[in-house]
């Protein structure tokens, strides 16, 4: 009777299979995956961490800085365990107003460089907590693509291993401005150095004119410092 059992088994299993496919057919829309380029997960609020299924979209994917709010305190740079944040700052002139942050703090330092190396970043989120201005945070933007391949001057093979593509520069201070300020500082230092040199030469000349005994110099060790302060 294996013959009839075979037929019966065939019919029941076929009907089972047809039930499965019909179940999917009548409510396919419920099971279809996200149609990615057309639909995306909604961008979350500033909420960090991987949660349950309903907060699946709340993910740490890219570190971001609101550079307008950055005061250049370098707390995030020090907090970073892998040193992926690099910050350079310049003092501004006395009385120069470079704006306030969104929390109302007057900015004192010009952030000339703020790079985040996303190949180094390990998404630990430790840098966001020390920030006094709440301007560095994780975003759910998981797309690291560049708009145009021509931007990246590497071959197709190299593109995948070129980590420089993932070093993000956030500073908006133009290079000419940085150069200008650096030039001013350099000029000031040059003037200062020239003045120091002049003073030193004058001191040597006066020292040569009125020689002191050697024991006297040892009794007054602070004289060199006094000279520098002048």
């Amino acid at each position: 009777m294996g013959y009839f059992k075979n037929i019966g088994d065939s019919i029941t299993t076929l009907i089972t299979g047809m039930k499965v496919t019909m179940g999917y057919f009548v409510r396919a829309k419920e099971h279809v995956t996200l149609q990615y380029p057309d639909e995306k997960w909604p961008n979350p609020e500033r909420n960090i961490g991987v949660g349950e299924l309903d907060t699946y979209n709340v993910i740490r994917s890219k570190l971001h800085v609101d550079i307008d709010d950055c005061i250049g305190c370098k707390k995030c740079e020090r907090a970073c365990p892998v040193n992926c944040i690099t910050i350079d700052t310049l003092k501004t002139d006395k009385g120069e107003d470079i704006g306030t942050t969104k929390l109302g703090t007057q900015k004192r330092l010009l952030v000339t460089r703020f790079t985040i190396d996303m190949t180094e970043c390990m998404y630990c989120d430790l840098c966001t907590f020390p920030c006094p201005e709440e301007c560095i945070y994780m975003t759910p933007d998981y797309r690291f693509e560049r708009g145009d391949n021509k931007e990246v001057q590497v071959t197709n093979v190299e593109r995948w291993r070129d980590r420089n593509n993932l070093i993000y520069e956030y500073s908006t201070v133009p290079k000419t401005e940085v150069d200008r300020r650096m030039q001013i500082i350099a000029d000031a230092e040059a003037v200062k150095a020239a003045a120091l040199e002049k003073a030193r030469v004058a001191a040597e000349a006066s020292a040569a004119a009125t020689p002191k005994p050697a024991e006297n110099r040892e009794i007054t060790p602070g004289s060199g410092e006094e000279q520098a302060h002048e």
Binding site: I7, L14, G17, M18, V20, T21, M22, Y24, F25, A28, H31, V32, T33, Q35
Partner: protein, 417 residues
């Protein structure tokens, strides 16, 4: 239909200079063109539907880009196929390679000649219509073997050989299952087969049952015959799960491996034309063809009321089984009761042309074929032969005898007189 069409054309002054014979030839050509347009549009629509059905069954969305919901995808594909380079392999047989697809298309195309689309609407109303359709459909195998051999490719030849074995084997269950219906109705004319299925179904010519008088509901034996026909016909038109002649995973595409462009499009046309022929034949022989269900007003009202009672029983059953009231049976009952007592609704029901009814029925069968295709895995060659010769054939034979016994019991035939 041809003669009526020809005489209708001769009525007009502009066409009256035509003699009877030229008018008939013109009518034939026009009908043939109409059927060809039907075949082409049929393939165009069915390709889209098949892609959508398969997508939904596999939890995808299918074509979505070209046109609204991807409706113009098939048009784009057809244009691409028309514009593609026509490649013929260097060592292929040049004549047979070109002729093969046309024979396949012709065989499935000519089968439409005997298909009744509506009362009086049959291109050739022949007394052996059923026999004609079944026999002309098997000419396809010549084209398949021809293109498989001419391709000069081992996969193509394998596909063609498998196809020959398969189609020849499954002819027999197809014939025997159709013969069961023919034994009941006593004619091979398709219009007469449809006409015999009018009205409300009955048991032993005595007890009315709430089903249409279609042969699928005629008796357990004819129900079985319908199932066997559907299975065997699926195999005969090479659709999954019986698509071993063109099994993609083993033979690339079987006999159509070497074809591309417009010739490959011909294969596709014939594939869907075949599916349509099978679906229409199922609808005609087992589902009442262009008859509306229950056929007349009293019958329709009876059928509707019976179905209302059935829905009520179903509701109670569901409530008893899952311990909560399902909304769907109640909705069904309400809808059916309203329809049953609304006279105008019935007028629409009865006035619906036969073309629509046969299209609905054929569409249901085609959906069933697609459902099979995207659910079942492919049979192995030996399993295919086992199914045909050891399962379907004996059951169909016993079934035929069973139909004869049923006919004798119900008094339709008598052994004595």
């Amino acid at each position: 239909m041809i003669d009526a069409f020809a005489s209708w054309m001769l009525q007009f002054g502009a066409l009256s200079w035509l003699g009877t014979t030229p008018a008939t030839i013109l009518a034939m050509s026009l009908v043939a063109v109409a059927i060809f347009i039907f075949v082409a549009l049929n393939a165009l629509v069915l390709v889209y539907v098949e892609r959508k059905v398969s997508a939904f069954m596999q939890v995808r969305l299918g074509p979505m880009r070209v046109g609204p919901m991807g409706t113009l995808q098939t048009v784009a594909d057809a244009l691409k196929l028309l514009l593609k380079e026509d490649i013929i392999p260097r060592f292929a047989d040049p004549i047979l390679f070109r002729v093969g697809p046309w024979i396949i298309l012709l065989a499935s195309f000519v089968a439409f000649a005997a298909v009744p689309f509506s009362p009086g609407w049959v291109p050739a109303d022949m007394s052996i219509g059923l026999f004609y359709v079944v026999s002309i459909s098997s000419v396809v195998v010549i084209g398949i073997v021809m293109s498989g051999w001419a391709s000069n490719n081992k996969w193509s030849l394998y596909g063609a050989m498998r196809s020959a074995a398969q189609i020849v084997s499954y002819e027999i269950p197809v014939g025997l299952s159709l013969l069961a219906a023919v034994a009941v109705v006593g004619t091979l004319n398709l219009q007469e087969i449809i006409a015999a299925q009018a009205g409300v179904g009955n048991l032993f010519h005595w007890i009315p049952i709430p089903f249409p008088n279609w042969y699928i509901f005629h008796s357990p034996f004819l129900f079985l015959a319908g199932c066997i026909y559907l299975i065997a016909a699926t195999a005969e038109v090479n659709r999954t799960p019986f698509d071993i002649p063109e099994s993609e995973s083993e033979l690339v595409a079987g006999f159509m491996t070497e074809y591309s462009g417009i010739r490959w499009a011909l294969f596709f046309l014939s594939e869907y034309a075949n599916a349509a022929v099978v679906a229409l034949l199922t609808a005609i022989v087992f589902l009442g063809g262009w008859q509306s269900p229950f056929a007349d007003l009293a019958g329709a009202r009876f059928g509707m009321i019976s179905l209302t009672v059935l829905a009520l029983i179903w509701t109670i059953f569901v409530k008893y089984k899952v311990k909560r009231l399902s909304i769907y049976p109640i909705g069904t009952i309400l809808a059916l009761t309203v329809i049953a007592w609304l006279f105008p609704a019935f007028a629409i029901w009865l006035a619906t042309p036969g073309l629509v009814w046969i299209a609905i029925k054929g569409g249901v069968v085609i959906f069933l074929l697609m459902w099979f295709r995207w659910t079942f895995p492919r049979l192995r060659v030996d399993q295919l032969m086992y199914l045909s010769w050891k399962v379907l054939l004996p059951i169909a034979l016993i079934n035929l005898a069973g139909v004869a016994v049923w006919m004798w019991l119900t008094g339709a035939i008598s052994l004595v007189g």
